[in-house]
Symmetry: C2
Subunit: 89 residues, 2 copies
Amino acid sequence: MPFNDSFKALSDPTRRRILEMLKKSDLSVNEIAAEFDISQPSISRHLSILKNADLVSDERKGQRIIYSLNTSVFESLMGWFISFKEKGE
Amino acid sequence: MPFNDSFKALSDPTRRRILEMLKKSDLSVNEIAAEFDISQPSISRHLSILKNADLVSDERKGQRIIYSLNTSVFESLMGWFISFKEKGE
């Protein structure tokens, strides 16, 4: 049930806001944490939940780890929702 | 944060399966429970979570309460996902 973890990860507003930031550009944990009034370890924990749910990927670039959206999982979730538009057809 | 409850409700596979049943037609709790190997009180509890998350509506018809999808909430959620398709554009 891969969607269980996706939806659990999405049920938190901080994590949704992180995803919305990553929609605009790939970012490091420092760049993400700069937008929040919460500690960097807490942001790292949210990123770890998003990564375990396959909603984001990370990649080391030199000294930094850069986070990006995993668009294929977003497309699977979107497909699930789109199937509800076809109700009754 | 109305999406918090929506995503929490969606993180359970039984609840997603109920929603998929309601996609095809409106149903009573008995009709829903008939498709599962779990008790009717447990199905009622899942329906109550879906109703609190505004994903389903209920309506009394004579002796029965009929559940249906709340398509407007599905459309809001779908809209949130669709915004991720526009990444980088």
